[in-house]
C-alpha cells in the first residue's frame, strides 16, 4: 500500500529527536497536474522537509486514471509522503480505489513525539458513521500526555461536508484532547486561525492551482506555519 510504504520509510528515521520536524502540507490538486508537478519539484529542493502531507482531493471525478496520474507525479517526491482522502476522491468507486491504492482512510502514526491522525470526514449527504467519532476519540485518547496531536482530515469543521452537529462534536473532541494542529483542505482558501477560540489552531491550505503549499515547523512547543509560493 502506498501510504504504508511511506510510513515504513518514516519509521526508519534515524533522528529520534522529539518534537522537531518540518513538514510540507497541501491539498486539492484535482486536475492541476502541471502545478502539482512544479510543487513536487519545489519541495524536492528543500532537503529539510521530513515528509509531505496531501490532505485529500487529488482527483476531480474519483476515476482510476486520475489516481494513476496523481501517484505518477507524487511518487517523484524525495521525502516520504502521506495521502488523505477528499470528497472528490470518493466519487464513483473512489472509496474502493483509495483503499486499494493508498490503504485505510482512517489511520494514525507517531513521528518524533507527535501522533498524526488521518481520518475521513467527507460526510456530505452521509448521515451515519462519517467521521468515525468513536475511532477518532480512541486515537486521540491514546496519545496520552506525552504525545502532541496533529489531525489531518480533508474538510474543516463548518464546511459543507460537516453539518453543525458533527462540526461541534469534532471541534469539541479536538479541544478536549488539546490537538496541537488540525490540518485541512477543501475550501481552496488558505486559513490559519483558532477557529473556535478554544486553543486549537486550524490550518486550511489553498488548492494547488494557487501555486503555494504550507510548511509546518515544530520546534519543541513552538509551531511555525508558512506559505511557500512556487
Amino acid at each position: 500500500m502506498y501510504n504504508q510504504g511511506n510510513l515504513d520509510r518514516l519509521a526508519l528515521d534515524p533522528l529520534r529527536t522529539p518534537r522537531h520536524f518540518k513538514i510540507a502540507v497541501m491539498a486539492d490538486s484535482h486536475l492541476w497536474y502541471d502545478e502539482l508537478k512544479v510543487a513536487v519539484g519545489r519541495i524536492n529542493l528543500d532537503p529539510t522537509i521530513d515528509f509531505v502531507i496531501l490532505a485529500g482531493d487529488f482527483t476531480k471525478f474519483g476515476y482510476a486514471d486520475e489516481y494513476d496520474r496523481f501517484t505518477d507525479i507524487f511518487n517523484k517526491l524525495a521525502a516520504p509522503h502521506v495521502v488523505g482522502i477528499g470528497n472528490h476522491d470518493l466519487q464513483a468507486d473512489g472509496f474502493t480505489l483509495f483503499t486499494r491504492v493508498f490503504g485505510p482512510t482512517d489511520f494514525s502514526f507517531v513521528y518524533r513525539g507527535v501522533e498524526f491522525i488521518f481520518f475521513n470526514d467527507n460526510a456530505r449527504g452521509i448521515r451515519c458513521c462519517i467521521p468515525k467519532f468513536d475511532w477518532l476519540e480512541t486515537e486521540l485518547a491514546a496519545a496520552g500526555d506525552t504525545l502532541k496531536i496533529f489531525t489531518v482530515s480533508h474538510a474543516p469543521p463548518l464546511s459543507d461536508q460537516l453539518d453543525t452537529a458533527k462540526s461541534e462534536r469534532m471541534a469539541g473532541l479536538f479541544a478536549k484532547y488539546k490537538v496541537a494542529l488540525s490540518i485541512h483542505g477543501h475550501t481552496h482558501a488558505f486559513e490559519y486561525s483558532e477557529k473556535f477560540r478554544d486553543g486549537v489552531p486550524y490550518l486550511v491550505t489553498d488548492a494547488v492551482n494557487k501555486r503555494n503549499y504550507v510548511t509546518v515547523v515544530l520546534d519543541g512547543d513552538v509551531l511555525t506555519v508558512e506559505r511557500v509560493f512556487f
Binding site: 476531480k60 464513483a92 480505489l97 459543507d160
Partner: protein, 201 residues
C-alpha cells in the same frame, strides 16, 4: 461549476434525441418494408469506455452513413474495481462508403459520440439538488471518437447480410478536461482505442 440549468438542459436534450430517433425509426425505415423496430445491425465491441466487452443492436440511415445503437457493456472486476454494467447509446456519421469490388467496402473516415452510463449504487446519474452545483454525475460520461470501418456485404444473404470491423480512436469528456488544463496530460495520454465487429442483419 455545473448549474441546475445545465442538467435541465441535458435532460431536455436527451428527450429531443429520443423523440428524433423515434421519428426517424418510424418514418425513414418504413420505406424498405421491414418492421421499423427490427435493428439493421448488431455490434460487439471491445474497450472504448463502454465496458471491456459490450454488445447491442443498432439502426442505420442514409445509405448506412448514419448509425445509432444501444449497447450493454460489462467490466469484470479484474479490469476495474468491481463488476460493473455500462449502458451506452452511440451515434456515428461516415463521410462515405468506398466500394472495393462487388462485395467489400471501406469507410475511411467516421466520427461520432456515445453516452455511457455506469450502473450501480456507487454511481449517480441524477444528483441531489444540493450537489448539482458541485459534482459531476459520476455515472455519466461521453465518448468522442474518429473511426474507420471495413467490411463485406454478402451477395446471397442468409441470417446476415454482411459483416464489418471497425477501429475507433477516442476519448472521454473528463480526460479532455484534464488535457486542456495540463501540458502534463498529453493527447496521447487521453486517447484510447476500441475495436468492434458489426453484423448486418
Amino acid at each position: 461549476m455545473l448549474r441546475r440549468g445545465y442538467f435541465d438542459g441535458m435532460r431536455a436534450g436527451a428527450l429531443c434525441l429520443i423523440a428524433l430517433g423515434a421519428v426517424l425509426c418510424g418514418t425513414c425505415r418504413a420505406e424498405d418494408g421491414r418492421s421499423p423496430f427490427l435493428p439493421d445491425f448488431a455490434r460487439l465491441q471491445f474497450a472504448g469506455h463502454a465496458g471491456l466487452l459490450s454488445v447491442g443492436p443498432g439502426y442505420s440511415w442514409w445509405d448506412n452513413r448514419i448509425e445509432a445503437g444501444l449497447a450493454f457493456g460489462f467490466v469484470p472486476e479484474f479490469a476495474g474495481t468491481r463488476n460493473t454494467v455500462i449502458l451506452s447509446q452511440k451515434n456515428s456519421i461516415s463521410t462515405g462508403r468506398l466500394r472495393l469490388g462487388p462485395s467489400y467496402f471501406l469507410e475511411p473516415l467516421m466520427a461520432g459520440f456515445a453516452t455511457h452510463l455506469s450502473i450501480g449504487k456507487e454511481y449517480e446519474i441524477v444528483l441531489p439538488e444540493s450537489q448539482r452545483d458541485y459534482y459531476w454525475p459520476d455515472a455519466l460520461y461521453f465518448w468522442m471518437f474518429g473511426a474507420a470501418k471495413a467490411g463485406c456485404m454478402f451477395e446471397k444473404p442468409t441470417y446476415l447480410s454482411g459483416v464489418a470491423a471497425m477501429v475507433e480512436v477516442g476519448t472521454i469528456n473528463q480526460d479532455v478536461q484534464a488535457h486542456t488544463r495540463n501540458h502534463y496530460v498529453t493527447l496521447g495520454d487521453i486517447l484510447s482505442v476500441a475495436i468492434s465487429a458489426q453484423f448486418y442483419l
